[in-house]
Amino acid sequence: MNERAARTATSTSIIVRLTLAATFLVFCMRLYSLQIVSGDSYQEQAAVNRLREIDTYAPRGVIYDRNGEILARNRPSFVIAVVPADLPPDDIATEIDEQRIALERLLAVLEADSEEEMAIRIAEVMFLHLGREDFKNTVESAGIDLSFRQVNLEILKQDEDGREILEEVPTLIPDLAIPLPVGGLLALLERAVAIGTQGSSYRPISVLDLVDREQAFQVAEETYQLRGVHVLQQPVREYPYRDLAGHVLGFLGPIPKLAADKYKNRGYEDPNEPVGLNGLEYTYQDSLRGLPGKRLVEVDILGRESRTVNVVREPGPGLNLNLSLDIRLQQVMQDALARQLEETGAPHGVALAMDPRSGAMLGMVSLPSYDNNIFSEGLGEEYKALEVEDDTQRPLYNYAIGGLYPPGSTFKMVSATAALAEHVITPATTLVDRGPIYLPNFFFPDDPEQSQEFVSWNHKLNILHGPMTIIEGIGLSNDIFFYYLGGGFPNFMDGLGSERMAKWMRLYGYGELTGVDLPGEVLAFVPDEQWKRLTKAESWTTGDSYNMAIGQGDVLGTPMQVMVSTAAVANGGYVVKPQFVQQMVDTQDHVQWQYEPELQERMPVDPGLLAYVQRGMWYAVNGHAGTAYYSRVEGVTVAGKTGTAEFCAYDPEIQDCTDRDHEGNLPFHAWYTAYAPYEDPEIVVTVFVYSGGEGSAVALPVAQEILHAWFHELRQ
């Protein structure tokens, strides 16, 4: 090596070593900056990567009847879902859409391409996720033709006065019974994932629900290598008695979109969490739900849990509900009412039973009913509700608290109490039925041709009841007697008049909700002079008082209100609140909440006077020619009151009421309301049959059957 080369070698060697040292230093500095300076931030990001807070299901409370029979319970079931965040990200460097491939593979594993039933079930779940519009648009933009069905959707609107009215709008909804090709399902899945990603992309989106254990394990095995596919446990609500207590129990469904914010404020984080949408499931939602637990779990890059790091909160199981309802009585009520509806061809009817002392509900049937299991099995709430409402008889409607009807003669207890308490009559007052009475025309008092005729039901049968006290008046349900009480008669006696009748109507609980622990109760108004002036721009007439006194005209109430008013007669003047749930107990059977009946102030009527009203109801069943003779039950004294209420279902097309008979008479609702034993009442029963006809002929036998079963088979 010559000298120059040696010099060069030495200097290059120095340069090389300097380069090495510099590189080493740069790397160390960079490492220091990443690991030490920014270490906390990266450690946090690593934690975000691996740690996930997972809600754990808290078992929903079980619902029992008064004898411990299970009315609602949970059945284990599984859901196959995808977690958008765990799906393979789409690598834009390639033509391939990785996410689409993953979803395609999932559909293939589920055999959605070959099994029609599977395709239908997946489409149903997607319909639930996306809603009607989005579902339709997504499928159509995938180039697939949808078939539609037309249903009438009820849409809540506001009329000019700002009141909410239901309007029926014919709407096309996709027919889900026809299986979609895989392309359509794939488009729906992608859409659901895209929407899901907008919220929290870690929230699982169900693809298929109601999977049983065996199938769940099979899918879990086959999808193990599929990124982002999870098999989750999601119990299903089960109602062993199916449609028997449909209206009482209600059903579950995903949180309705319109109410999403409200639920969120109440602590419902998952928008698809099933919540009670009707019945007791709705009223006691928060108690039944309990508190979902939270676990901190470590997940791998496929989103699979590797271990639980920390239990943030143990799930708090929901409280069980103990009802006063007797499912056996409910069965009797349903059978008896259903038979009567079938015989008379009436579209719907109600049967109610309650303990008049406490308001504890013993049974409630509104027919037609529905099987609540249909909401847990298969379809989601929205679609199924449409399908059920497609039925003109509207089984989802609870007529016991949602229907307003003229109470007819069952209202005479109110008029009678008012007349006695306001001293319009005394118990000894005798009034005579001499046939129809004619109320002189207000403007032409001297022209008998212009006067208005008021008849009693017995006149049509050519019977005159002659002289009566209040007891016979109620027992025979004589209308003339009550016309006098309500409106008096010129130059003969003063009646109660509108104000005093309205006052007593309110005292009996009309014009207010009964407060039963069910959603959907409707409010009836109390007709009085002011109300008539405001709504009809007419002044109150004596004829209005006549009609009101016999529960016709503008008097309206729900069957539940009629029962509560009956109970008030039975229990000596207390309006009670009907109540199904008597206790809430925890899983250790400790009572967490006990219902204490809150007795209202007693009505301002002397118990001695109210006794005459009770006696009148006794007479109806047990007196000579009483209207409710056939409701007697062996060994028990029953007191009752029939009702046959004329009603007008106005049809704008014919500009008249529908269903008039050949003589032009209006159709009748059949009522019967009763309590027993007369001496010490423990049950009150109210039966209502829409357009059923005579109360004594149609409603009464149902009540008799119920009372008989209660006293001879069920009561301990």
């Binding site: 090389v16 690991q35 990266y42 990001q45 690593a46 990567n49 496929l302």
Partner: protein, 360 residues
């Protein structure tokens, strides 16, 4: 002769291999398909150690005879790849040998080192003349061009770096260097036109990580893994990024991130120190070498190890773009490990024979 065997170098390499086996274990044990990789890496290390010792016993000066055939062989295999090579993931880099596919460029690195060392030492006194310099540039451009059109940008750059380093170290005129820079500058527009899409994309991702979610995801996860290590790391087999597979290609390209996460700043600096110690020792051998051929061979090996370390660690630390380059001695992979150890063996051969009197 044996007493000049560089034991610190040998044990540093073995230590690095040991760390490599341990980290491969940690990176692959949770993946069923890869669970035996650490055993295979152990086997490769044993084979590599034998190869290292064998190469050390072999007199490197005999390689001078093989220099020209090496070059011809390199060109022949590259042309063979071009004509009948296997195409894998869009690049034609592999030759099928029936039993297994080989990538001629892996061995090509060493063939080129031997050939360049021979050429530069043979014409050392004449290299300052432009003709000889141009000669070596032309001889280089042929294999480089063939590798470039495979396409394999990483290997092209590696070979260019290797050759450039050797030429510079051997000594050139400053004016020639400037001339080379100007020529490269002139050629740049043409080169740019031939850059494959994936190459441009990788550079773009480096400049703007958000442009490719998937690749940026990998880099981001690597940074998180490194940052997650802190001072002392999460412990061997305990790195969450590694064990839960957030970090991808973790046993090869991103083994450095696994080391950083599980061994922390202190452990990683130790590993870097070891790597640089190995290179440092190689430079020392080059200084001791009794002839220019030995010196250049040793520096070639050193610059190869340095370049791969620099690019791989730079990529892990997100200061360089993503390339599929492995970390010497640490990344999983048999052929790269064994060839690296053979290279170290050659350097040992050089240092064992640096005293002329030993050959008497």
């Amino acid at each position: 002769m044996i007493r000049h065997f560089d034991k610190p170098l040998f044990f540093a390499v073995l230590l690095l291999c040991g760390i490599g086996i341990a980290m491969t274990y940690s990176a692959t044990i949770t993946t069923i398909d890869l669970a035996d990789y650490w055993q295979r890496q152990l086997l490769f290390t044993i084979l590599g150690a034998i190869a290292l010792v064998t190469a050390a016993l072999f007199d490197y000066r005999h390689l001078e005879l093989l220099a020209q055939p090496s070059y011809v062989f390199l060109l022949a295999s590259l042309v063979a790849v071009y004509l009948v090579g296997e195409v894998k993931s869009g690049a034609q880099r592999w030759l099928s040998l029936g039993i297994t596919d080989v990538q001629p460029t892996e061995a090509g690195k060493f063939l080129l080192i031997v050939f360049l060392a021979w050429y530069l030492s043979r014409f050392q006194d004449r290299i300052r003349r432009i003709a000889y310099l141009l000669g070596v540039v032309v001889l280089l451009l042929i294999p480089l061009g063939l590798v470039y059109i495979q396409p394999d940008l990483g290997m092209t750059v590696t070979l260019a770096f290797l050759s450039g380093t050797l030429i510079l170290i051997n000594g050139v005129r400053l004016t020639h260097v400037l001339l080379g820079v100007v020529a490269a500058g002139a050629a740049w527009p043409i080169l740019q036109g031939t850059l494959q899409d994936y190459m441009i994309e990788r550079i773009e991702i480096f400049l703007d990580p958000s442009s490719n979610a998937d690749a940026a995801f990998n880099v981001q996860q690597a940074l998180i893994s490194i940052g997650n290590g802190g001072w002392i790391g999460m412990g061997w087999g305990e790195g969450s990024q590694n064990q839960l597979h957030f970090l991808r290609v973790r046993h090869t390209d991103f083994i450095f991130s696994v080391i950083a996460e599980e061994l922390g700043f202190i452990g990683t600096v130790m590993v870097l120190l070891l790597l640089f110690f190995v290179i440092w020792r190689l430079v020392r051998i080059a200084d001791l070498a009794q002839d220019q051929f030995g010196r250049l061979i040793t520096l070639g090996v050193a610059s190869l190890i340095f370049f791969q370390t620099f690019v791989n660690v730079g990529m892990n630390l997100a200061i360089l773009p993503v390339t599929g380059m492995t970390l010497p001695f640490l990344s999983y992979g048999g052929s790269s490990l064994v060839s690296m150890m053979v290279a170290v063996g050659l350097a040992q051969s050089v240092v064992m024979r640096h005293r002329k009197m030993d050959f008497s």
